[in-house]
Every structure is written in C-alpha cells, then in structure tokens.
C-alpha cells in the first residue's frame, strides 16, 4: 500500500488526484458552460443570493460529513429542523420567552434531539440508520403535536437580519456558514478529534483498542448534528418569517447528496469538509443555472440525478486510473 502511495507521488501531485480537486474541475467547467448560456448566472448578486438559499442545507451537511466519515448516518435532521422551528415559535408565543431566549431554547432542543440520537446509538447500540429513521418519525410527530399544526408569525424586525439581511454586502447566514465551514474543516483536518473520526470510520474496533473514546466522540457529532439542524431552523424561520411543523422535510437527502457527491465514503473512513462544500455548491448552482437557462424544474431534477451519478463515477474512475 505504501509502495503504491510512493509510486503515486512520483506520477502526479497527490492533491491533483483527490476526488475534491476533480470534482472542483467538473464544477468549474459546468459553471463556465452555464455562464455562456445566460448572462444573469455568473453575477455577484446571483451567486450571493444562491449562497443565502443553500445555507440551511450547508449547515446540516457539515456535521453530516463528520457522521458519515465515522460510518454513521443521520436521517432525522429534517425532522429536527421542523421540531426546532416549532419550539422557537412556541416558546416565544406560548411560554412568553423573549425572542433571544427562544432562539437559545430552539437550539437547545435541536441539540437535545441530536444528543438523544447519539445516546441511544452509543449506549443501546442501535445502528444509526435505524435510530434516526425512527426519530425522523418521532421528532416530526412531536413538532406537529406540540404546534397543533399552527404557525407562529409576526416576529420583530431585528430577527429578520439573520435570514434576510446583509453584512458587508454578504447575506448574514452565508457569513455564519463560511465561519462554520472553516471551523469544521480545521477541526476535521488538523485536530485529534478529526483524526479520531477517520479512525472510527476505518476500523471501529481498532479505534477502541487504541484507547479512543469512541462513544463520546459519536455522542458529540450527533449532538452537533442536532445543533446544526436547530441553527438551520432559526435561519430558515428568519428567512421565511413563519414557523410550520413541516419545515425541513426532505433536507436529510439534500444534505446527504451534498456529502456523498463531495467524495465522503458512505462506508466511512474517508471524506473532507471541502469536498462537501464543493458538492453543496455544485448542486445549488446547477439547479440555479439550469433554471436560468430555461430548463424546467422537473427536467432539472433529472439532470441533478444524472450529474450526481456521473460526477461520482468520473471522479472515482479518474482517481482509480491514476492509482
């Protein structure tokens, strides 16, 4: 294996053979192509606006990358968005919480929901897919029951800065996303925490024998996933000015699509935050670019599906050939 790696190093620089690099190249080609078709696509205003629209999925995709690297998955994120959104409105209106406290409360509910996932996954050893498919139903159901399907509206103006405002000309939530991307990227790349995620994903038993606290690490990432979903809920509520129990429905598949498109292995042990970001941007801009070129929504979905399969196919076969 190491001999192989050495041979690689002689043939081509390692970064060039990486999935993310190849994916980024595909992305750039696609963007230039779409830009040729439509002059309104590659404008700063449009790109920033797309950044605003992709923030919620982006926030969720970061801890999802961590989770998938460990060989786990979290399908309950969309339901946690719904539950947190409902709790934000409910606590503000029915408990009479001041809005800042309600925001913290909604975040806490998201974190708790993620913690429960992590707790049962680590203590009772329920496989993550099974646990989160069950809590997907449970959390969504709680959101409906607690809210009685009612919406809460009429938030104070300052709250909308988060979802609709700008700071230095950049959408507020996009700045938050960028900061969190950097933190998540560094945490995964440069810290023992990040290395332990890869260790767990490659071989959990070995990780346990090398004295890694596997359970605590898992508990942390599922809780982070819940927290990120809660944050996404707050951003979403601020953007659309209302809460509904069906918010965030289907986000789990959007987030997972971004992560796996970005080259994170669904079997665990490999993946990067940068790859996820490229996957996220690729899906969002492809949808947008096609729409601006006059492709209708149903056809766009088809193209996204083909693109998802083809880009993973191209990236992985190029990588394999160079190896």
């Amino acid at each position: 294996m190491s001999a192989l790696a050495e041979r690689n190093a002689r043939r081509a620089p390692k970064w060039l053979t990486r999935h993310e690099t190849l994916l980024a190249l595909i992305l750039i080609v696609a963007l230039i192509g779409l830009g040729e078709f439509n002059s309104r696509f590659l404008t700063v205003e449009n790109l920033l606006n797309q950044g605003r629209l992709m923030t919620e999925i982006g926030l969720i995709a970061l801890p999802m990358t961590f989770i998938i690297i460990t060989g786990g998955i979290d399908l309950s994120v969309g339901a946690i968005v719904g539950l947190s959104a409902v709790m934000l409105g409910y606590s503000w209106k029915n408990f009479g919480f001041p809005l800042p406290l309600a925001i913290v409360f909604a975040l806490a509910v998201g974190g708790l929901a993620g913690f429960v996932n992590g707790f049962v996954i680590t203590r009772v050893k329920v496989p993550p897919l099974i646990m989160t498919i069950a809590t997907l139903a449970l959390y969504r159901g709680l959101a409906e029951g607690i809210s009685q399907a009612r919406s809460v509206r009429g938030y104070p103006e300052w709250f909308y800065v988060l979802g609709q405002g700008e700071v230095f000309g950049v959408p507020t939530q996009l700045l938050i996303l960028i900061v969190l991307i950097v933190i998540a990227g560094v945490a995964l790349d440069r810290t023992t925490f990040g290395r332990s995620l890869y260790a767990i994903g490659s071989n959990e038993t070995a990780a346990r024998y090398s004295a890694l606290d596997v359970d605590r690490t898992k508990l942390v990432i599922y809780t982070l996933s819940g927290l990120a979903s809660g944050l996404a809920a707050i951003v979403l509520v601020s953007r659309v000015t209302t809460t509904r129990m069906d918010m965030g429905m289907g986000y789990e598949l959007d987030a997972i699509a971004a992560v796996v498109l970005g080259g994170t292995s669904i079997f665990g042990g490999a993946g990067t935050i940068w790859g996820t970001v490229i996957g996220l941007v690729m899906i969002q801009l492809l949808k947008n670019g096609l729409a601006l070129t006059g492709v209708k929504g149903d056809a766009t979905i088809v193209v996204i599906g083909v693109a998802l399969i083809l880009s993973v196919l191209i990236a992985s076969s190029l990588q394999r050939r160079r190896e």
Partner: protein, 330 residues
C-alpha cells in the same frame, strides 16, 4: 458472517430460542397490539377491519421484501418509491391505451427488473455506492415522470385491470400475493445457495469471494429481484384504486425502508429475514389504524407512531445483543 452461523445452527436451536427470534417478537407485537386495541374498541377486531389493514398496505410489505434483500446484501435503495410511481403510470397508460391486460401486468415486472438490475450493475461493477446511484435514480425517475406525463392522472382504467380486486380461494389477491411472495422469498433465501450468497456478500464480501461466491453478480441479482418485487408491489398498488396519480407516492421509499429495518434487517448488511419485514410492515400499518381507533388526537398520531417504532427497534436490538452475549459465553 453471523447469518451463516445462524443458518448452520438453526436446526439445533431450541424452541425457546426460536420463539425469541425477531419474527416471533414482531408477530407477538402484531397480535398483542390487536388485542389491546380490541379492549378499548372491539370494532378494531372485526374481520373486515383486520382484512382492510392488510389489503391497503400489502404493497408496502411486498416492496419491503426486495428492500430487505438489498439491505442484507450491504446496499440500500432510495429509488423504490419513484420506481413504483413510474411503473404504475406505465402500467396504467398501457391499460388505458387498450393493451391486453396481461401485458399491462407483465410490463412493470420486466421494467422493474431491468431498471433495478442496471442500478445493481453500476453499484457492483463501477463501484459507486448504492446510496449515490439510487439517490440519483430517484431524481431521474421522479423528474422524468412529471416531464413525460405532465402529472396528468390516469382515469378510465378498464375493469379487468384491477388485479387487487380479485380473490383467490376466497382470500383477497393483495394478501395472497403478499403471503406467497414472503414465503417464497424466505424459503429461497434460507435454502438456496444463491439466496445464502446474499447473506455472505452482505456479511463479508471478501470472505464470500473466497468461498466461491461472486459478490458482484450477487449484487446485480439482488437488485434485479428487488426490481421484480417492486413490480409486484406496483401491481397491487396501481390496481387498488380507480385513479393512478402518475406522480411518485410521497415518502414511500422511507416507509419501505422503515418496514425493512424494523423487521430486523441490520442496515450493516448480512442479517435478517424477509418474514420480519412483512410482519413489520403489517405492524406499522396496524399502528396507524389503531391510533385512529383509540382516539389519539390526529395531531399526535405521528409522534406516538414514531415512539412505538422506536420502542420496537430498541427492544429488538436489546434482545439481539443479549443473545450475542450469551453466544460468546457458550
């Protein structure tokens, strides 16, 4: 790996241990829930109601059989809901266009096998993870369906088309198909070499290869069979009502996957049976109906159903863990 040892040990297993199996636990839950709800509202136990629960949800159980095989082989399929939508539309359109009924019934089976086998081939030979392939295929099928049909509903279906309205020896066809499909699949998986190969591939593909199983071919075969069951599920699904919506049934893939995993199919692959998934599909349908019968507020039904599914899953994992611990001691 564990599946192989379980199969080998099966004949020697005591009655008690067999009773404690996942299928028995689910069967107990199905019966226990019926009796408990019957106490609150005796109408729940009426033959008509119990039959309706099976009738209305047989297609989910049938689709879950194929899904279980896919999961046991170490893969997953997100596209099954969209596929069923597409197959139903194709079948219904043929019927309205005047094709012979038998053709209308056969085409979804063939098409299901072809589409799923193609996905299986991409997964097995091009080595793209199943979740990527099937997620992409879901998009393609979903968007393609609306692009082609414009979402126009199919009405005026010919009388003979409604397979689900027929009955065999007095039993309604959907239930007959569900039971037959489950039994055949269970026997095949347990006793045939190709059926056992699925467990081997899911348990440890490398070990399977060494034992003379071709994991790639097995994965393609599993997806093809899954496509066949999706086709059968479509027949029941599409012929039950007088309208085919020609869109994909919302969230059907998740319902099917839930039935499979609650049925004791470990998502890590290699463990589980299709009898469990059928029982789980019945249990979930029963819970949905029961919550209406015992007057749970409709705002809370989803939460209670979620909690019950969670409780079932946790109980099962606990039981399996305890058995594994005992196994280690022996």
């Amino acid at each position: 790996m564990s599946a192989l040892s379980v199969t080998a040990a099966a004949p020697r297993a005591s009655l008690l241990r067999r009773l404690a199996s996942q299928e028995a636990l689910l069967a107990l839950a199905v019966i226990g829930l019926a009796i408990a709800v019957g106490f609150v509202n005796p109408r729940f136990l009426a033959y008509r109601n119990l039959a309706d629960i099976l009738l209305g949800n047989a297609y989910i159980a049938i689709a879950a059989i194929g899904m279980s095989m896919v999961i046991i082989s170490g893969n997953i399929d997100i596209s099954v809901g969209a596929l069923i939508g597409v197959l139903a539309t194709v079948s219904g359109s043929l019927a309205v266009a005047g094709a012979p009924i038998l053709v209308c019934w056969l085409v979804p089976l063939v098409l299901g096998v072809v589409i799923m086998a193609a996905q299986g081939a991409v997964v097995a030979y091009l080595r793209i993870p199943a979740i990527v392939v099937t997620l992409g295929m879901m998009s393609i099928l979903k968007g393609g369906l609306i692009s082609v049909t414009g979402g126009k509903w199919i009405t005026d279906l010919p009388q003979g088309f409604h397979l689900a309205d027929l009955s065999l020896f007095g039993a309604p066809m959907p239930v007959v198909i569900m039971v037959a499909a489950t039994a055949l699949a269970a026997l095949w998986m347990r006793w045939s070499p190709s059926g056992r190969a699925i467990y081997a591939t899911g348990g440890n593909a490398e070990a399977a290869r060494l034992c003379g199983v071709n994991p790639q071919r097995t994965v393609v075969m599993v997806f093809a069979i899954h496509g066949l069951f999706a086709g059968i599920a479509t027949l029941v699904y599409a012929t039950q009502l007088r309208v085919i919506q020609s869109t994909t049934p919302p969230g059907l893939e998740l319902t099917v996957i839930t039935a499979s995993v609650v049925g004791g199919v470990s998502i890590l692959g290699g463990v589980g049976t299709v009898v469990g998934s059928t029982l789980a599909a019945i249990l979930i349908a029963e819970i949905t109906s029961a919550l209406v019968f015992i007057d749970v507020s409709p705002y809370w039904t989803d939460a209670v159903r979620g909690a019950l599914i969670l409780a079932t899953v946790v109980a099962d994992i606990q039981r399996r863990r305890r058995r594994a611990e005992r196994g280690v001691r022996v």
